[in-house]
C-alpha cells in the first residue's frame, strides 16, 4: 500500500496546517492554503492545478499578517476566504478578499473585509455553510459559538447571536451540516454537540472522547464522521448518538482530520500525525452491521475498508481537502509545508 509518487507536489516556504478547496472557482481546480510561522512573514497561497492535471501553479501569493491556524474559502465567492490567526499571544479571525488586480501588483495586499473580533480566547475555526450562498458565518473559539451576519458589499460582519458552550466544554472545532442550514456540530474534549442556530440551543450530543475533527457526509443526510486520538474514525448517524454505525481503525498515531468525498458515497479521507493519508471506503447506507461483522468472517477479507494509504509525507498531515470541482482529486498538506495533490481515480474503478 505504498503511496508511490503519483501525487503532484507544491512547497510552501514555511510550516502550514490548513488548506481549503476553492469551491466557488468553477473553472479551475484550486486550493488555498496559508502558512504557520511564528516568527516569519506568513503567506497565503492560491494554488491551481494546471489543466493537464500534472502541475500545481501558484496563482497568487499574498502576505498575511500573522500565522494562520485555520483557513476556509467562501463557497460562493472565489475571492473571499476566512482565516484564524495568532500572534503567539492572542488570536484573531478575519474575512479577506483577494484584490482584483493582483496580477499586476508586485506584492498584492489582501483586503480585509471584516474582522470577527468578538472573541476573547483562542479561536479555533470559522465555518461557511458548505452548500451554497448564505450570508451567515460561524466562528468557534474555546468557549463560545458565534453566528455572524456577513455583508460583503458593506464590508461588515455583525454578531447575530452567541452561545457559550457551557462549563468545562472546551470547543475544538466544528462542522456545519450541508443538509440543514440551521444545524451545526461542534467538537469538544468529551463530546460532539449539535446546535440549532435559530434558537442557539444544544439539540443533541454524542458522548465520545478526544474528537479532533468532524465532517458531515455531503451526500447522505444525518451522517457525521469523526476523527479521534486513539480510536480512529467513527461514523455516526446523528439520530442515533448512542453508538457509531461503523468504526474504522484510523491511523497509527492520532487521526487529525477526516473529510467525506463530496460526490462519491462512502469515500472518506483521513489524515494523521503518523504522516499518512488514508483513503477509506465505508458504505454508510444499509447493512452496516452486517458488513462489520462479515469482516471477521469473510475469508478473503474483501471488505477491508482501507482502499489506500498514502505515506509519502515527511511530517504529520494536518490539512486535507477534496476538490469539489473534480471530486476524485484531493489536496493534502503536511506540517513541513508540502502540498500534495493526489487523484483517487485508480481506486474508483475498483468499485
Amino acid at each position: 500500500m505504498q503511496g508511490g509518487s503519483s501525487g503532484i507536489g507544491y512547497g510552501l516556504k514555511y510550516q502550514a496546517r490548513c488548506i481549503s478547496d476553492v469551491k466557488a472557482d468553477t473553472d479551475h481546480t484550486s486550493f488555498i492554503t496559508g502558512t504557520l510561522s511564528l516568527r516569519e512573514e506568513n503567506e497565503v497561497h492560491l494554488i491551481r492545478l494546471s489543466s493537464g492535471g500534472t502541475e500545481l501553479i501558484c496563482e497568487g501569493l499574498f502576505s498575511h499578517p500573522n500565522e494562520i491556524w485555520d483557513l476556509a474559502s467562501c463557497p460562493f465567492d472565489q475571492r473571499i476566504f476566512s482565516t484564524v490567526f495568532s500572534t503567539g499571544e492572542s488570536y484573531g479571525a478575519a474575512i479577506w478578499q483577494i484584490p482584483e488586480l493582483y496580477g499586476q501588483l508586485n506584492s498584492p495586499q489582501l483586503e480585509r473585509i471584516a474582522s470577527l473580533d468578538a472573541h476573547v480566547g483562542k479561536i479555533n475555526c470559522v465555518l461557511w455553510w458548505p452548500s451554497g450562498r448564505h450570508d451567515k458565518l460561524i466562528s468557534i473559539d474555546d468557549e463560545n459559538l458565534f453566528l455572524w451576519a456577513l455583508d460583503c458589499s458593506k464590508k461588515a460582519a455583525q454578531v447575530q447571536s452567541k452561545q457559550s458552550s457551557g462549563m468545562l466544554h472546551y470547543l475544538s472545532g466544528g462542522a456545519w451540516d450541508p443538509h440543514d442550514i440551521n444545524a451545526v456540530a461542534t467538537t469538544c474534549e468529551s463530546s460532539v454537540q449539535f446546535w440549532d442556530l435559530r434558537t442557539m440551543k444544544k439539540t443533541n450530543a454524542i458522548e465520545h472522547a478526544h474528537i479532533h475533527n468532524a465532517n458531515y457526509d455531503m451526500k447522505t443526510n444525518h451522517i457525521l464522521v469523526t476523527a479521534e486520538d486513539e480510536s480512529g474514525i467513527h461514523i455516526w448517524d446523528t439520530r442515533k448518538p448512542k453508538s457509531p454505525i461503523q468504526e474504522l481503525p484510523g491511523h497509527t498515531h492520532w487521526t487529525w482530520a477526516v473529510t467525506c468525498n463530496p460526490e462519491y458515497d462512502g469515500l472518506i479521507l483521513s489524515a494523521g500525525t503518523d504522516s499518512t493519508v488514508n483513503l477509506w471506503m465505508a458504505p454508510t447506507s444499509v447493512e452496516d452491521e452486517a458488513i462489520t461483522e462479515s469482516i471477521a468472517e469473510s475469508p478473503a477479507q474483501q471488505a477491508d475498508p482501507l482502499l489506500n494509504s498514502y505515506s509519502d509525507y515527511e511530517d504529520s498531515v494536518y490539512g486535507l481537502a477534496w476538490s469539489s470541482r473534480e471530486p476524485w482529486i484531493f489536496a493534502s498538506l503536511s506540517y513541513d509545508g508540502r502540498v500534495v495533490v493526489e487523484s483517487i481515480k485508480p481506486f474508483l474503478s475498483r468499485k
Partner: protein
C-alpha cells in the same frame, strides 16, 4: 427309414381325423384346417374344388413333378380306399356287439314285475301298524313332556332360591368366575320377576354380588395379586355391568402416581452419581441405585402390561403415559444437563433412561419409545454440548476476570503472569477435557448414542467453532474494545472504564497462545476421534474450520496488543494533555526543576513495562539495535547534534544550531517511527514510548512558548533521554523523537534560546538526586 416313417405318421393322423369327423356331431368342426382353396393343401378340406386344384397343380408344377404327384396321389387314393374299408369293417363289428347286449337285457328283465308287487304289499302293512302304535302312545307322551317341563321350571326356581347361598359359597371359595356366571344366568329371571316373586332372593343375591364386586375391586387394585387374577377381576366386573371406566381412570391415576415415584428415583441416581467422588464406591452405589430404579421401572412396565391386558382399548392413554415417563426423564435430564456435569454422568443417566425405554418398549411397542427417546436424547445431548462449552467459556473468563480481583489485592508478585498461566491452562486443559468428555459419549456403545454418533460429532465440531467465536467476543468484551457489544449486554457500567490494561495484554497473549497451540491441538484431536459426522450435509463442509478460527485469533491478538498499547498511551496522553493545555506557556516562568509530569510519565512506563515483562517473552538479544533499519545513522547524527548542543553556550550559536537541526532533518532519512508491533517485551514498550513521544511532539506543536517555556521543555526532554533509552529497544527512533520535540518547541517559541548546558546539567543532576532519594531501590 425316415421317409417311410413320415407318410406312415401322416396316414395314421388322417385316419384319426377321418374317424373323428365321422363321429363328430358337427362336420364343420373339422373344418378348421386352412380353407384357402388356392393352395395345394386344400385337398383335405370340404371346400375342395377339384378343377381349381388341377389348374393350380398344372400351373405350378412341371411334368416331372406332375408325374410324381400322380404317383403320390395314386398311392394315397389306394391308402384311403383301404382305410375306408377298415372303417366300415370296424363299424360293423361294433354294431354286432351292440345287438348282442340288447338281446341279453331282454332275457333278464322278465319276472321283475311279480317281485315288485310283493314288496308294495309289505310296506303297506308296516305303515298301518306304525299308525296304530302312534295313536295309542300319544297321550302318554304328552304327559311325559309336561312333567319334564315342570321339572325344569322347578329346577330353575330351586336355582334362584339357592343363588344367594351359592354365591356365598362362591365368595368363600373365591370362585368369583362361577358366582358371576350364576348371577348373570339368573339375571333375566330377576329382571322379569325380581319385583314380585323373587324379591328376597334377588336382594340377597344382589348383596352377595355387591360383596363380590367389592372383592373384585380390591383384587383389581391390589398389586399383590397376579396380573391374570386382576385381569379376570376386571373382566368379571365388566360382566357385572360395573362402571369400568371409572376404574380405568382410577387405575391410570395410580399408574401416574407410580410415575412420580419413578421420577424421584431418577433424581436419586443423579444425586448418587454426582456425589460419588470416589469412582469405585460411586459405581457400586450407582449400580445399587440403578438396580433399584430398574426394579421400579420393571414393576411399572408390568403394571402397564397388566393394565393393557385388563383394558385392551386403553392403548392410547398408555402410550401417552409412557411417553410422559420418557418426556419427564428427559426433562430432568435437560435440567440436569444445564448444570455442570461430566459426560460420564450424562451417560449414566442416558443409560438408565435407555434401559427404561427398552423395558417399556417391550411392554408397549406401539408407543415407538425408542424413536421418541432418540429425538429427546438428541435435544438433551445438544444441550449438553452447548452447556459444556458455555461452562468452558465461563471458566476461562473467570480465570481472566480473576486478574481484576487479584491485582486489587496486590498480594501476588506477578498477578498477570499467574492469570495468564491460569487462563492458558483453562483454555487448553479445558478444551482437552471437553474433548475427552465427549469422547466418552462416542466410545460408548449405548444404542441411543451410536445412532446419534454423527450428530454428536457435528455438534462437538460446531460447538468448538461457536465456542471460539464466543471466546473471541468475550475477549473483546473483556478488553472493552467492542463498544457495541458492550452496550448490547448492558455492561457499560460494570466494565466500562475498569478494564485493566494488563488484562488486555493477557488477552492478547492468550489469543496468540490459542492460535498457535490450542487450535492445532484441538484440530488434531478432532481429526483423531471426531472425524466423520456429515449429518449436516457435505456442501457445508466440516463444522469446525480451524483456519478461520486461527485467523480470527491472530487478528484478535494483534488488535488486543494494539489496544493495550493504545490504553497505555492514552493514559500518558491525558497526562500530557493536562500538562500542555493548563499553563499559559507564553507567560511561563524560568525553569527551576524538571517538571513532575516526567515522573508520572516514567511511572506509567514502568508500570507498563512490569506488566509486559510478566506476559510477553523477551525479544531477541537486546543488542539488536535495528542496525538494519535506517534509524541508526540518524541516531548517530542526532547524538552528535546533542553533544554539539551541550558544548555550545552562547545564544547566537544556539540559534544557528537550531537551523542546523532543520537542515540535518532535511537530509536525514525518515526514521521509521511506527514499525510493526511484535509480541516481545521490547517491541511493546518501545512502541508505547514512541507513540507517547509523538503525542508529546504534537501537543508541543499546538502551543506557543516564550523562552522560559521552551527551556522548560528542553529541560524535561533532556532529563527523559537517559531513562527512556534504558527501557527502549530502538534508541535511534527515541532519540529522533526527543529531538523532534525540542525542534517543535523551538519552532513554536517566540524567542528560542536554549538553556545553557551547565544550568541544564545542574538541574538534571538535582532532579536525579531527588529521584534517587525517592526510589532508593531502583538502579
Amino acid at each position: 427309414m425316415e421317409t417311410d416313417d413320415v407318410p406312415l405318421d401322416d396316414k395314421a393322423k388322417r385316419m384319426r381325423d377321418l374317424l373323428s369327423s365321422f363321429y363328430a356331431p358337427d362336420p364343420s368342426s373339422t373344418d378348421n384346417a386352412p380353407s384357402n382353396p388356392g393352395t395345394l393343401d386344400a385337398i383335405n378340406t370340404t371346400s375342395f374344388d377339384a378343377d381349381q386344384y388341377m389348374n393350380l397343380l398344372i400351373q405350378k408344377s412341371n411334368l416331372e413333378a406332375l408325374l410324381q404327384r400322380h404317383v403320390e396321389m395314386a398311392a394315397e387314393i389306394k391308402n384311403i380306399d383301404t382305410d375306408l374299408q377298415m372303417l366300415v369293417y370296424e363299424n360293423y363289428n361294433k354294431f354286432i356287439s351292440a345287438t348282442d347286449a340288447i338281446k341279453r337285457m331282454k332275457t333278464n328283465i322278465v319276472g321283475m314285475e311279480a317281485n315288485m308287487e310283493q314288496l308294495l304289499d309289505k310296506i303297506m302293512s308296516v305303515q298301518s301298524k306304525s299308525d296304530g302304535v302312534n295313536t295309542s302312545l300319544f297321550e302318554k307322551r304328552e304327559r311325559v313332556e309336561k312333567l319334564h317341563r315342570t321339572r325344569n321350571l322347578l329346577r330353575k326356581v330351586q336355582f334362584i332360591y339357592d343363588l344367594p347361598a351359592r354365591l356365598e359359597k362362591c365368595i368363600e371359595a373365591e370362585a368369583y368366575v362361577d358366582a358371576v356366571k350364576f348371577y348373570t344366568g339368573a339375571m333375566p329371571i330377576f329382571k322379569a320377576y325380581g319385583d314380585s316373586s323373587f324379591q328376597d332372593c334377588k336382594q340377597a343375591s344382589e348383596e352377595a354380588i355387591a360383596v363380590i364386586v367389592k372383592n373384585l375391586q380390591g383384587k383389581l387394585f391390589s398389586d399383590s395379586e397376579s396380573i391374570q387374577a386382576r385381569a379376570e377381576a376386571a373382566v368379571l366386573l365388566k360382566q357385572l355391568d360395573f362402571p369400568v371406566d371409572s376404574l380405568q381412570v382410577k387405575l391410570l391415576e395410580k399408574l401416574e402416581q407410580s410415575l412420580g415415584d419413578l421420577q424421584l428415583k431418577t433424581n436419586d441416581i443423579e444425586n448418587a452419581s454426582m456425589k460419588s467422588n470416589d469412582p469405585k464406591q460411586g459405581k457400586v452405589s450407582d449400580s445399587v441405585h440403578i438396580s433399584a430404579h430398574e426394579g421400579s421401572v420393571r414393576g411399572f412396565a408390568e403394571a402397564i402390561s397388566a393394565y393393557r391386558v385388563i383394558f385392551p382399548e386403553s392403548e392410547e392413554q398408555l402410550i401417552k403415559l409412557v411417553q410422559d415417563v420418557v418426556v419427564k426423564h428427559f426433562e430432568t435430564t435437560e435440567q440436569y444437563v444445564k448444570g455442570r456435569i461430566s459426560s460420564a454422568n450424562l451417560l449414566c443417566v442416558l443409560r438408565t433412561i435407555w434401559t427404561d425405554v427398552l423395558l417399556l418398549d417391550e411392554v408397549l411397542s406401539e408407543a415407538v419409545l425408542p424413536v421418541f427417546s432418540l429425538e429427546a436424547a438428541q435435544i438433551a445431548l445438544k444441550q449438553h454440548v452447548a452447556s459444556t462449552f458455555n461452562y468452558l467459556l465461563q471458566d476461562i473468563s473467570d480465570a481472566l476476570v480473576r486478574v481484576n480481583a487479584s491485582s486489587k489485592e496486590a498480594a501476588e508478585e506477578h498477578p498477570l503472569q499467574v492469570a495468564l498461566e491460569a487462563s492458558k491452562k483453562a483454555v487448553l486443559q479445558g478444551s482437552m477435557d471437553v474433548l475427552l468428555d465427549f469422547r466418552q459419549l462416542l466410545d460408548d456403545d449405548l444404542h441411543l448414542l451410536v445412532q446419534l454418533r454423527d450428530f454428536i460429532i457435528d455438534w462437538v465440531q460446531e460447538g468448538f467453532q461457536d465456542f471460539f467465536r464466543a471466546l473471541y467476543d468475550r475477549f473483546l468484551l473483556l478488553s472493552g474494545r467492542n463498544s457495541s457489544s458492550r452496550q448490547d449486554q448492558g455492561l457499560t457500567g460494570a466494565h466500562g472504564e475498569k478494564v485493566l490494561a494488563g488484562l488486555v495484554l493477557v488477552l492478547a497473549q492468550l489469543s496468540v497462545f490459542i492460535e498457535q497451540t490450542v487450535i492445532p491441538r484441538i484440530t488434531e484431536e478432532i481429526a483423531a476421534s471426531f472425524s466423520g459426522g456429515g449429518a449436516r450435509g457435505y456442501e457445508n463442509g466440516p463444522a469446525f474450520v480451524p483456519g478461520v478460527i486461527c485467523r480470527i485469533f491472530r487478528s484478535a491478538g494483534e488488535r488486543l496488543l494494539h489496544h493495550y498499547i493504545n490504553m497505555r498511551t492514552q493514559k500518558v496522553s491525558t497526562l500530557l494533555r493536562k500538562r500542555f493545555t493548563t499553563p499559559n506557556w507564553v507567560k511561563h516562568k524560568e525553569p527551576r526543576e524538571v517538571h513532575m509530569f516526567v515522573d508520572l510519565f516514567l511511572q506509567e512506563l514502568k508500570e507498563s513495562a512490569s506488566e509486559v515483562k510478566q506476559i510477553l517473552p523477551q525479544g531477541l538479544a537486546r543488542k539488536h539495535r535495528r542496525s538494519d533499519s535506517n534509524g541508526s545513522t540518524a541516531s548517530s547524527r542526532s547524538n552528535q547534534l546533542r553533544d554539539d548542543k551541550m558544548t555550545r553556550s552562547n545564544t547566537q550559536r544556539a540559534r544557528s544550531q537550531l537551523l542546523e537541526t532543520h537542515l540535518a532533518k532535511l537530509f536525514k532519512q525518515k526514521v521509521e517511527i511506527f514499525t510493526k508491533v511484535e509480541y516481545t517485551q521490547e517491541s511493546v514498550v518501545t512502541t508505547t514510548v514512541k507513540l507517547c513521544l509523538k503525542s508529546l511532539q504534537e501537543f508541543v506543536r499546538l502551543q506557543t512558548f516564550n523562552r522560559s517555556g521552551f527551556q522548560q521543555i528542553q529541560l524535561d526532554i533532556q532529563f527523559l533521554r537517559t531513562p527512556l533509552k534504558e527501557t527502549v529497544e530502538d534508541e535511534a527512533a527515541v532519540d529522533f523523537l526527543l529531538d523532534e520535540v525540542i525542534v517543535a518547541a523551538s519552532e513554536r517559541c517566540l524567542d528560542p534560546i536554549p538553556l545553557e548546558p551547565p544550568i541544564l546539567d545542574r538541574l538534571i543532576q538535582a532532579k536525579l538526586a531527588k529521584w534517587k532519594e525517592q526510589n532508593p531501590i531502583s538502579p
